[in-house]
């Protein structure tokens, strides 16, 4: 493998930016983080709007003194932890190796 040797076609950042490898990396990154951001923001604002305008629904008791509102609130914690875990695992596996590969090509070219 010639992982750490420079690529003769990549002499400027502009060349890298236009290369298929980089386009693929950017596409993959954006296709993950943009929908994920939309997802957690929508879920957060659904929760905020319910807390502000749906008092009867949120005050419903599920078991003992545990209300729907409490479950929704704890649900925000669970989803935040889950997204963190999923993203870190995904980025470690699907982002870092290719980013590293490109970085070696570029920094090799700079030396």
């Amino acid at each position: 493998m010639s992982d750490t040797t420079r690529d003769p076609d990549l002499t400027t950042y502009r060349d890298v930016q236009l290369s298929p490898d980089f386009s693929e990396l950017r596409r993959r990154f954006r296709n993950f983080v943009f929908p994920m951001t939309a997802l957690f923001l929508v879920w957060y604002f659904v929760y905020v709007l319910l807390a502000a305008y749906a008092h009867d629904f949120m005050s419903h008791k599920v078991a003992g003194n545990i209300t729907v509102a409490l479950l929704f609130g704890l649900g925000q914690f669970v989803s935040t932890f889950a997204i963190t875990l999923i993203y870190v695992r995904w980025a470690d596996r699907r982002l870092d190796p290719d980013a590293e590969h490109l970085r070696h090509q570029i920094e090799g070219a700079e030396q």
Partner: protein, 548 residues
């Protein structure tokens, strides 16, 4: 972070001596560590970014130390004790906000910048105007945040150490300020980071012990604890478990709640003292790990405050909390006293005090870095200055900022500080975040867009706050007392109906950024944009850790 720290009268529980001794131990221990950490503190990368040599977990703990201020510990626990579920809503906004930092900001910022937020914003735009705007909004957010912490210190100290006189409190504020200046001067970013780490561990462990203690009293049955809180709160009753006790009264207060929720979730990733922390790790992978650690620690801590808040309602009771000096903020200390007597109260008090000290130190180093690196080094000296020269200016600035914070804190002592912190979050969300996102993700974004967005967001947030009920004209319907910053009920110049400006100023800043960009004929600097985009995603050319 947002609940007001009211001015208390005097403490009537616990022993100030025990509190002072435990706090003094903390100061001595941290000073020793700061001195050790400061041995390698010569270059700019050492002073500003701790040599970029902290690991992800270390920086994650320090991030949570920076983020969990005394108001978020005492304030949220107290808000839950008195307002029940509505107090819990704050902590959810503060937590979810970290996902913006994790997914969109932390790694790209680490790969692109050197020391400050302005490094990234001015990367491919016209250097001087954009850097100046970014530095001004950095200093603005830091100033409001700093003032809130210092004002809170006076009230907290009165509660915990039994210092009741105005002069005595001013002296304590000055001592806090002097200690903080020492940490920053001697330790730089490395020393400050270690202070954050120690403080965060103490805070989370202290809150964790209290949480387990409270739960054990109710046989680890959350429903039983909630029931006891309801039984012990005759005025609020069942409403303690429902949303709306604090924000549900009118259509306007509901809108205010949504405005606050927006500022909270978008503010965190624009807080300068959070952003500069991403430069203290060697690469973007460690930046990712540090946010992940911070999310876990902060999330678990907020779950603790849920138990502590309802625990305080159940075990201490709302009447005693309201009657105590410091009101809502005394809920957690009173609970500590009920559970573990003088000693636990002393530990919790010292932790709360250490928290203020650490957060203030973190803000000071961020503000002084921005002044020295952005305004002095890059704009006044146009980059024609050695790193040492910049660091000298940063040290000097830290002293000036410390003095300003002491004086401001003395004057703001006893003020309702909620508006200062809410302003800091609203300004961060309006002035900083839109420009950060645009410059990272929108190719066409240009100088005019950045300037309109930063100044427009900053200006509109401050103007709306100045003419909001938090500054003038809010009167308690029952007691006739003023709830505003200006306590004279005869003065009322508010016309903006909401406490928090976020719902107007944040969309406005995004709109101005777009409008400024499309109305300008400035061509895109394709080479600098290519460099920024490639560097941000691959880490090529990113600043390396300092080798000692």
């Amino acid at each position: 972070m947002t609940a007001p720290l009211m001015l208390p009268l005097a403490t009537d529980i616990g022993s100030p001596t025990v509190n002072i001794v435990i706090f003094a131990l903390f100061v001595i221990a941290t000073l020793a560590i700061v001195l050790r950490a400061s041995r390698n503190n010569r270059t700019a990368a050492d002073y500003y970014a701790g040599g970029r040599s902290f690991t992800g977990p270390q920086n994650g703990i320090a991030l949570s130390g920076d983020y969990l201020s005394a108001a978020s510990f005492l304030g949220i626990a107290g808000a839950i004790a008195l307002n029940g579920y509505d107090g819990f809503l704050y902590s959810i906004g503060f937590l979810v906000a970290w996902l913006v930092a994790l997914l969109l900001v932390a790694e790209l910022l680490r790969n692109t910048g050197r020391f400050t937020m302005a490094d990234v914003l001015s990367f491919r735009l016209r250097q001087r105007p954009v850097r100046m705007a970014a530095a001004i909004s950095t200093l603005g957010v830091c100033f409001f945040y700093l003032l809130a912490q210092m004002a809170g210190a006076g009230g907290l100290v009165a509660l915990l150490l039994g210092v009741s006189g105005r002069t005595g409190q001013s002296i304590v504020i000055a001592v806090v300020g002097a200690l903080m200046i020492t940490y920053v001067l001697v330790g730089g970013m490395k020393g400050t980071t270690w202070v954050q780490i120690i403080k965060a561990v103490l805070l989370v462990v202290g809150a964790g012990i209290m949480t387990i203690w409270v739960l054990a009293k109710y046989a680890f049955n959350l429903s039983g604890l909630l029931g006891a809180a309801v039984d012990n709160s005759p005025a609020a009753g069942e409403k303690l478990l429902h949303p709306g006790l604090q924000y549900g009264a009118t259509g306007m207060s509901k809108l205010d709640f949504i405005s606050l929720a927006l500022a909270l979730v978008l503010g965190t990733a624009g807080l300068p003292h959070v952003l500069t922390r991403f430069y203290t790790v060697p690469n973007s992978k460690e930046a990712r790990r540090s946010v992940s650690w911070a999310i876990w620690i902060i999330g678990i801590f907020y779950l603790f405050t849920l138990v502590l808040g309802y625990g305080a309602a159940a075990i201490v009771g709302p009447d005693r909390i309201k009657a105590a000096p410091g009101k809502a903020n005394s809920a957690a200390p009173l609970l500590a006293f009920e559970l573990g007597g003088e000693l636990l109260l002393g530990v919790i008090s010292a932790v709360a005090f250490a928290t203020i000290l650490a957060v203030v130190a973190g803000l000071t180093i961020t503000a002084s870095t921005s002044f020295a690196h952005d305004i002095y080094g890059s704009i006044i000296k146009k980059g024609q200055i050695s790193g040492d020269g910049e660091v000298r200016v940063a040290r000097f600035t830290a002293v000036v900022i410390g003095l300003v914070a002491i004086i401001g804190g003395i004057f703001a002592n006893g003020q309702n500080i909620a508006f200062l912190v809410a302003l800091a979050f609203a300004v961060a969300a309006s002035a900083n975040l839109p420009t950060i996102l645009y410059s990272l993700f929108w190719r066409r974004f240009n100088t005019r867009g950045a300037l309109w967005s930063i100044y427009g967001g900053l200006g509109s947030a401050i103007i709306l706050i100045a003419f909001s009920p938090v500054v003038s004209g809010k009167v308690d319907a029952k007691t006739g007392k003023s709830l505003s910053m200006i306590t004279d009920t005869g003065i009322d110049f508010h016309w903006f109906p909401l406490d928090n400006p976020g719902i107007v100023s944040i969309p406005l800043a995004f709109l101005l950024g777009w409008l400024g960009t499309i109305s300008s004929k400035e061509p895109v600097d394709v080479d600098r944009f290519a460099e920024m985009e490639v560097r941000s995603l691959t880490g090529a050319g990113a600043e390396k850790a300092v080798q000692h």
